[in-house]
Structure formats: C-alpha cells, structure tokens
C-alpha cells in the first residue's frame, strides 16, 4: 500500500473527471474549443524558443569552459546577468528594450552602409531593407520567443558546461595527443559523450519552458494562458476556464516528463 503511486492515481482520476466534463458539459466544452488555438501557439512558441535556446546554450556553454578570456568573459557575463533577473522581467525587457534597440541598431547600420560609397553600390538592396525595418515588423509573439530563448539559453549554457566538465580530463588529453585540435576534440570526443549526460536535464528544461511560455500572456500573446483570460472575460466562467487551462498544461507536462524518464532510463542502460 505504501509503494502504490497514489498521487498518480488521484491525478489520473482528476484528469478523467475533467475529460468527462469537457466532453459533456457545455461550458467546459466551449472553453476547450476556444483554448485549442492557444495550445497550438504554446507548442509552437516552446518548440521555436527551445531550439534557439539550446543553440545559444551550446555556444555559451562552450564559452564557459573555454581557456580564452574573451569567450569565457562574454558567456559568463551573459549567464550571470540572466540568472539574476526574473523570467517575466526578462521577457518584458527583451520585448520593449532589447528588440527596439536591435531595430535601431539595424536602421543605423543600414544608414551607415548607404553613406559609405564603397559599400552603398553593392549592398544597396540589403541596406535599404535594413533602413526600412521598423518595430512594427516584429510582433509580440516573436519578441516573446526571443525573450524566452535568451533567458533559457543561460540555463542551457550551465547544463552544457556541467556536462562537458563531467567528462574525464583524460579524454581531451588523449584526443589532443593524437593531434586533434581543440574543436575536433570537442566535436568528436567530448560533446558526443557530454550530450548523453545532458539529455535528461535538457528535457526537463523543455518542460520548464513550456510552463514559462505562459508568461507571454503578459505581452498579450494569444497562447494558452492568454486565451484562458480572454475566455473568462467573455463567458464569466472562471471555474470552468481555469480548470480546463490547468488540465491542458498538466496533460502536456505529465506526458513530457514521462518521456524524459523513459529517455533517462534508456541512457542509463547503455
């Protein structure tokens, strides 16, 4: 009796109950249908931001283990900056400060190219395009994705760093003693071994990001949480709306964490 996963059973029963409601209760059903588009956007946002974050993380993680001062300093600064700021503030900051500043920089660069005769001839098209960029070209969904990716990139960097540092020193030395350069040793020897060790934490961060994507509702991005707010406002069905939203998030995260556990077990066997 002690070993039974009672919590899982209760969770499953609650899920079944809500599923039953969605199928049979009109308020639940309407909420569910309305929220479907939000699930779609939540998944798209998470997938896109995650791919970018994993890439940024790999690059910054390599910087964190580098012996060279410049990549080490830049990536460490990035990681420390991000980790000290709440995710919600990061999202707002990226959406309303970083992106507009980026657009101004692109405008400025384009204008500069047009003023340099040597460049203006060959690069006229791209420079013109850069000058014409406006903040209106970047919608809130994109800004939110950029914000999530920058924020999570810092956490992924630490995951990769830990993974790389967990590989015995002798591996790098053996690779180098064969004449491989640092990058070849990383690519063929260190990273393939490190990746297996970081897959579970990377998977867990994917789940964390799926949950944090709800913060994009603060930017009025029409993802699952935002649609929940809208549904509540138009139907006044508070209880039904948030039950359904919660049910949908839980379904996604529970399924995903089962997947991660499976992956963990697979990797442990090899």
């Amino acid at each position: 009796m002690q070993n039974m996963p009672w919590w899982a059973l209760i969770l499953a029963l609650l899920g079944l109950f809500l599923l039953f409601q969605i199928l049979n209760n009109e308020d639940y059903h309407r909420a569910f249908v309305f929220l479907l588009a939000g699930i779609r956007l939540t998944v798209i946002i998470t997938l896109t931001a995650y791919v970018v974050a994993a890439t940024i993380g790999l690059i910054a993680g390599l910087g964190r283990v580098s012996d060279h001062l410049i990549p080490y300093t830049i990536s460490t600064l990035y990681v420390e900056l991000i980790r000290g700021v709440p995710m919600l503030v990061q999202l707002i900051y990226v959406a309303f400060v970083v992106v507009p500043m980026g657009i101004s920089a692109i405008n400025g660069l384009g204008g500069w190219i047009l003023h340099v005769p040597a460049l203006a001839g060959t690069l006229h098209g791209p420079a013109q395009w850069m000058v014409e960029r406006s903040i209106r070209n970047v919608d809130m969904t994109t800004r939110g994705i950029i914000g999530l990716a920058i924020g999570y990139g810092a956490y992924e960097a630490e995951v990769y760093r830990a993974g790389i540092q967990s590989i015995e020193k002798g591996q790098m030395e053996a690779a180098r003693s064969l004449g491989m350069n640092y990058f070849q040793a990383m690519r063929y020897i260190i990273l393939p071994q490190a990746i297996r060790r970081v897959l579970p934490p990377l998977g867990n961060d994917f789940i964390a990001m799926l949950k944090d994507s709800s913060l994009l509702s603060a930017l009025a991005v029409r993802e699952l949480t935002q649609l929940g707010k809208l549904n509540r406002a138009s139907t006044f069905r508070t209880f039904e709306t948030w039950n359904t939203v919660t049910f949908l998030y839980l379904t996604m995260t529970v399924l995903l964490s089962m997947l991660v556990k499976l992956l963990e077990r697979r990797l442990a066997i090899d």
């Binding site: 030395e173 053996a174 180098r176 064969l178 004449g179 063929y188 297996r196």
Partner: protein, 267 residues
C-alpha cells in the same frame, strides 16, 4: 621467458651496431627545462637527448616529475623555462603547429583513456580520418592491421568497456600507432593492470622496441627495462639524478637515492 630473452639479446646486438654508426641529430632534445605547478617544482633543470630508435626507461618515486616530463614532450604541459626540440621542431616556438607535432608523437596513458562512445575500430580509425585525412577504407584497414598486430583482431566491433584492461591498453597502443608516430611515449602503461595482463602489454611494447621505434617509457617493470632499454633514467624531486646504460641502473646503481628507491620498488 626464454624466447623473449633470446629476442632481446639479438636486439641488443643490433643496437650496439647502431651505436657505432656516426651520430645523427637526436630526435628529442630537452634543454634545461623547468616546470612549476604553483609551489611544486615538478621539473628542475632537466636535460635529456634521445636518439632515433632509442628506448629510454624512466623510473622514480611518485611525484618525481616523470609524467610531467613525458607530458612536456608532447606539450600537454607547457614548460616554464628551457626548451624542447622534437624532430627538429621547437615546441616552445609560438609559430609551431603543436597539433602537427603531436600527430608524430604517440602517447599511451596509465588509464588507457580510450573513447568509450566509439568501438575499438573507431577508436583507432577516428584520428586517422580527422587528423591524417585518410579515407574511411584506408583508416579502417590500418586499424584492422594494427589490431592484428596487438593480437586482438576479434575485438574490432566491441566497445572499450567490453574489454579487459590489458586488451584496452593494447587498443590504446594501436590507436597511437595508427598515426604512424616517430616517437611513442608510455606513462606507466601497465600499472593499472592486473598482474596477469601485464605481460601481454609488455610484449607489444617489446615488439615495438625491436622494430626500432623511439620510445620514452615511464615504468618500473624491470623485465621490460632489461629486455629493451638503451638507457634508464632515475628521477627524484623534479631532477634527473642518474642515467644508466641499458639496465645498469637496476643492477649497479651508483647514487644513494637511486639505491634507496630501488630497494623499495624491487623485491
């Protein structure tokens, strides 16, 4: 043991012929090298030359700087003073492409350091492709030939974790040989092995010595030194204390410190 001794005798006779030939430029020159780790003087004023085809055995107590000396020879450690010239190339020069030099120097580690995510065959083939730019077929063929040579052709598609320690170390030797190095460095290649596996590794090393490979070997295996060493070096506290021709260091040590050390390791 008997065939080994015969082989060794023949080999030493060959060596003596070589010694009478006109001297050529040494393949390794170590000139007054210093190396410090914070407070520890790992190497102090170490000088050493190794001729092509020579087998040098290095012994000494723990912490005496044997590994550090070896690691300086392929620049896994940089020196703080003095210079090292390998095959005419100054390792201390900024302009030196260290990767190119390392490809000419094979290294075998105490802990084997095989790549656990690759099969035995891939362990031996990888650097050939990446560094030597050999094709898949050629590098695989070289790998198979070397596995034959070290006596475990049947293990090609196994992973390192499926091999015994002795087999792993032989794969590590094959992996180093695959680069066609001019020099082989061995850092206590048998001290992580169970006693019954030591011989299979030493036999491979002995065969290599007899083929005329230049070797610097950190090892306390007297049998190997007897059979293969042209010179034996005793190190203590970062210095070379005594150098003996062939295995004379073991049979007739002159320095007190050498005698003391040998009385402890030999039984």
């Amino acid at each position: 043991m008997a065939p080994d001794t015969q082989r060794a005798t023949r080999f030493i006779q060959q060596r003596e012929k070589n010694v009478n030939e006109p001297a050529q430029e040494p393949i390794i020159i170590v000139e007054s090298v210093y190396k410090r780790f914070k407070r520890v003087h790992a190497l102090s004023d170490v000088s050493l030359t190794v001729q092509q085809g020579e087998v040098v055995v290095v012994v000494g107590p723990s912490g005496s700087g044997k590994s550090t000396l070896l690691r300086c020879l392929n620049h896994l450690e940089s020196v703080d003073g003095g210079r090292i010239i390998v095959d005419g190339i100054h390792l201390t020069d900024k302009a030196t492409d260290i990767n190119q030099v390392r490809a000419e120097i094979g290294m075998v580690f105490q802990q084997f350091n095989l790549f656990p995510h690759l099969t035995v065959l891939e362990n031996i083939a990888l650097a050939q492709r990446v560094v030597r730019k050999r094709g898949d077929e050629e590098s695989e063929q070289v790998a198979r030939d070397l596995l034959d040579k070290v006596g475990i052709p049947e293990k090609a598609s196994n992973y390192p974790s499926q091999l015994s320690g002795g087999q792993q170390q032989r794969v590590a030797i094959a992996r180093a040989l695959a680069m066609n190095p001019k020099i082989m460095l061995f850092d206590e290649p048998t001290s992580a092995l169970d006693p019954e596996m030591i011989k299979e590794v030493l036999d491979v090393m002995l065969a290599l010595a007899q083929e005329g490979m230049t070797m610097v070997v950190v090892s306390h295996e007297m049998g190997f030194a007897k059979a293969a060493a042209d010179r034996t070096i005793f190190m203590d506290e970062g210095r070379i204390i005594e150098v003996g021709v062939r295995d004379q260091l073991f049979t007739a040590p002159t320095h007190e410190r050498t005698k003391l050390f040998l009385s402890k390791v030999l039984h």
